[in-house]
Amino acid sequence: MESVTLVAVTAANTAPDMALLDRLASRLAPVFHLSITVSNSPIDAAFAYTPERCQYYSTRLVAALAALPTRPGEHILGITPLDLFVPILTFVFGEAQLRGPAAIVSYHRLTEEFYGLPADAALLDQRLLKEAVHELGHTLGLRHCDDWSCAMASTHTVELLDLKGAELCPHCRRE
C-alpha cells in the first residue's frame, strides 16, 4: 500500500506552518488516491545551509528525508519555506528522487510577496499543490510531460506554474 508523509523542513528554531501542510494534505489526497499524513516532527535544515549562497542545498535535504525510517511503499515529501539550490542553478522549486522514496518542495519562491506583489494565500496553496503533485509524481516514477497543462510539465517559473493544472493528464495518470 503506497502512502505519503509530509514533513516540514525548517530553519533552526522556527515553527513550521502546520496549517499549510494540513491544507496541502487534504488537497493532495484526491489527486493520487493515496493516504496522506502530516508528520509531527519537523526536520532542521541547518546542516544543508550554504553560506556562500545563503541558500539550502536541496540534494542534501532530499537525502536526509530519504534516510528517515519508512514503511514499505511510503513516500516522504519535505515542505519548506527555505530557498533551495543545486550547485549550478540559482534556485530550484523542488527536487525528487525518480522512483525513490523522497522529494522536497520549497515555497520560498511560490509566494506573490517574493515578486513584490500583494500576498495571495489561495494562490500559494494552489502553487504548492502543483509542485507537490509534480515532485510526488517523480517519486512514483513519472517523468516530465509535454502537455503544458499537466502537473508533470517541467516549470521553472511561477508564471508557467500558474498555467498548468494540479492534475495529471490522462497519459500520466495511466502510468
Binding site: L89, H144, T157
Partner: protein, 446 residues
C-alpha cells in the same frame, strides 16, 4: 523520448554531475567530459546536438576548444559557460561564433530556453512540425456543447477564424461560455500546442494589471525580489485571452493598443523592449460601441479588437441546448466527485428548460453541482434545485447584509465540505474573494 543530446565540458566535477543530472531530469541525454582532449575524443565516438563549454579550463581553454569543435561539427551550437569575472572573454567567444554564453550559476528558466533555442535553430523545421502533430492527438480540444442553430453558428465561426491569426472579439452575457469559445478557438488553431493564457482584467487594480500583462523587472518596486514575466511573454507562441476587456482603464488601454500593434512589450521598470508572439482573443459582456460613445473606451482600440466578432446568445434563447448541457455536466461531475453517474427525472429536465437562467450556462452548471451535493438519489427530482422549492431563507441570526452573507457562505462551505474551489463556483465569486471573506468572517471548518 529524448529532447536532444548535450555535451558538457567542465573541469569541475560538481558542475558536470549537477548539470548532467539536471538535464537528464529535463529529458535530455548528456555526455560529460573534463577537458578538451576528452571532449574531442567523445565527439569522435558520439554525436551531440549542443555543447556547453566552460570557458576556463586547464590546458586548452574553452575558446580554443570552441574553434576545434567548429571544425569538427560546424552545425553544433556551442554555449559558453562563464563565471562573473570572465564575461568579457565570453563576449569574445560570441564574436568567434559561439551560439551564446551563460553566467554561473544558471537561472533554470534561462538555461532551458537557451538550450531549446539552440536546438530549434539546428533542427529541421519539418521534424519539429511532425512532433507537434503527434502531440496534438494527445491534447483534444475542450468540448463546446450545443446543437441549437445559434451554437452551430458559433461553432462555424470558431472553425472559420481559428486557423487565422486574427484577433477575435467574443461578446455575450456573463456565463454564456465566452471563455469556453476562446479555448475552442485556441484548440483549433495552429497555436494549440502553446499555452492559452487567460487574464480576467476586471479582477485587478490598474497597476497590478499592468504588471500581470507586461511583467516587471527585479526591483521594479519595493519587494520585487525577482523578475516576473507578463502574460504576453508567457503566452509566447500561444494565445492571450483577455476577459472583461471593458473593465480596463484608459491608461492600460493605451498600453494594450501598443502591444497589439507593435507586438512588443516593455516590462514594468524595464527599458528593453521584447518581441512577443501571440494571438489575442478578448471578451466582454458590455457593448463596447456604447462605451466608445461614452468616452470610457478608446475608439482606436475598439477598431483593433472588432475585426471578427462571435456573439454568444443567452441560454434562454437557445433552450434546446439545455438537455445536452445537463448530460454534459452530469458526466463531468461524476468524474470530478468520483461518484457513480446520476441522472435527472424527465420532470426535472422540463423544469430546467423552462427556467430563465439569468446566469446562463454557469448558473446551470452551478445548479447541477449543488443538486448533486445535496441529493444522492439516482435520479434528481425537481426539488434538488433551489429556485424550485427553496427560496433562499434569510439567515435566522441576523438582519444585516454582512450577517446574511456570512451565514450563506458558511452554509455553502459546509455543503461543499470546505472544497474552496467548489464553494467559490457555487457562490460565483473567485477563490481569492472567498478566501478573504472566510478570513473576514473568521469562518472555520467544523
Amino acid at each position: 523520448m529524448t529532447k536532444g543530446r548535450i555535451l558538457i565540458v567542465d573541469d569541475d566535477p560538481v558542475v558536470r554531475d549537477s548539470l548532467s543530472q539536471w538535464f537528464q531530469s529535463e529529458d535530455y541525454e548528456t555526455g560529460a567530459c573534463d577537458g578538451a582532449a576528452s571532449a574531442l575524443a567523445e565527439l569522435a565516438r558520439h554525436s551531440y546536438e549542443v555543447a556547453l563549454l566552460d570557458i576556463k579550463m586547464p590546458g586548452v581553454d574553452g575558446i580554443e576548444l570552441q574553434h576545434r569543435l567548429r571544425e569538427l561539427e560546424p552545425d553544433m551550437p556551442v554555449i559558453i559557460m562563464t563565471g562573473y569575472a570572465t564575461v568579457e572573454t565570453a563576449v569574445r567567444a560570441l564574436k568567434n561564433g559561439a551560439y551564446d554564453y551563460i553566467t554561473k550559476p544558471f537561472d533554470p528558466d534561462e538555461l532551458v530556453h537557451l538550450v531549446e533555442r539552440a536546438l530549434a535553430q539546428r533542427a529541421a523545421v519539418q521534424e519539429v512540425d511532425r512532433l507537434r502533430e503527434s502531440l496534438t492527438q494527445m491534447n483534444p480540444a475542450r468540448d463546446l456543447i450545443g446543437a441549437s442553430p445559434a451554437m452551430r453558428r458559433v461553432n462555424e465561426l470558431v472553425q472559420t477564424v481559428a486557423p487565422t491569426d486574427a484577433t477575435v472579439l467574443i461578446t455575450g452575457e456573463s456565463g454564456t461560455g465566452k471563455e469556453v469559445v476562446a479555448r475552442a478557438v485556441h484548440a483549433a488553431s495552429p497555436r494549440r500546442l502553446h499555452p492559452l493564457v487567460a487574464i480576467h482584467c476586471g479582477a485587478l487594480t490598474d497597476s497590478l494589471l499592468e504588471s500581470e500583462l507586461f511583467g516587471h523587472e527585479k526591483g521594479a518596486f519595493t519587494g520585487a525580489h525577482a523578475r516576473k514575466k507578463g502574460k504576453f511573454e508567457v503566452a509566447d507562441g500561444g494565445t492571450v485571452f483577455l476577459d472583461e476587456i471593458a473593465d480596463i482603464s484608459l491608461h492600460t488601454q493605451t498600453d494594450l493598443l501598443r502591444v497589439l500593434q507593435e507586438k512588443e512589450i516593455t516590462r514594468v521598470g524595464g527599458t528593453q523592449t521584447l518581441k512577443v508572439d501571440f494571438r489575442a482573443i478578448v471578451a466582454t459582456n458590455k457593448r463596447l460601441e456604447k462605451l466608445v460613445e461614452e468616452g470610457t473606451f478608446r475608439p482606436d482600440l475598439y477598431y483593433r479588437l472588432n475585426v471578427f466578432t462571435i456573439d454568444i446568445p443567452p441560454l434562454r434563447s437557445r433552450r434546446e441546448d439545455i438537455p445536452l448541457l445537463i448530460e454534459h455536466f452530469l458526466d463531468r461531475f461524476a468524474v470530478s466527485m468520483n461518484r457513480p453517474r446520476q441522472k435527472v427525472l424527465p420532470a426535472t429536465v422540463e423544469m430546467l428548460i423552462e427556467y430563465a437562467w439569468p446566469g446562463n450556462v454557469r448558473e446551470l452548471e452551478n445548479a447541477i453541482e449543488r443538486a448533486l451535493l445535496i441529493c444522492r438519489e439516482r435520479e434528481l427530482p425537481p426539488e434538488a434545485f433551489p429556485f424550485q422549492a427553496h427560496p433562499i431563507t434569510p439567515a435566522a441570526e441576523g438582519r444585516s447584509l454582512d450577517e446574511i452573507e456570512k451565514h450563506h457562505i458558511a452554509a455553502i462551505l459546509s455543503e461543499s465540505q470546505w472544497n474552496l474551489s467548489r464553494a467559490a463556483r457555487i457562490l460565483d465569486i473567485d477563490r481569492t474573494t472567498l478566501y478573504n471573506k472566510i478570513r473576514r468572517y473568521s469562518l472555520q471548518e467544523e
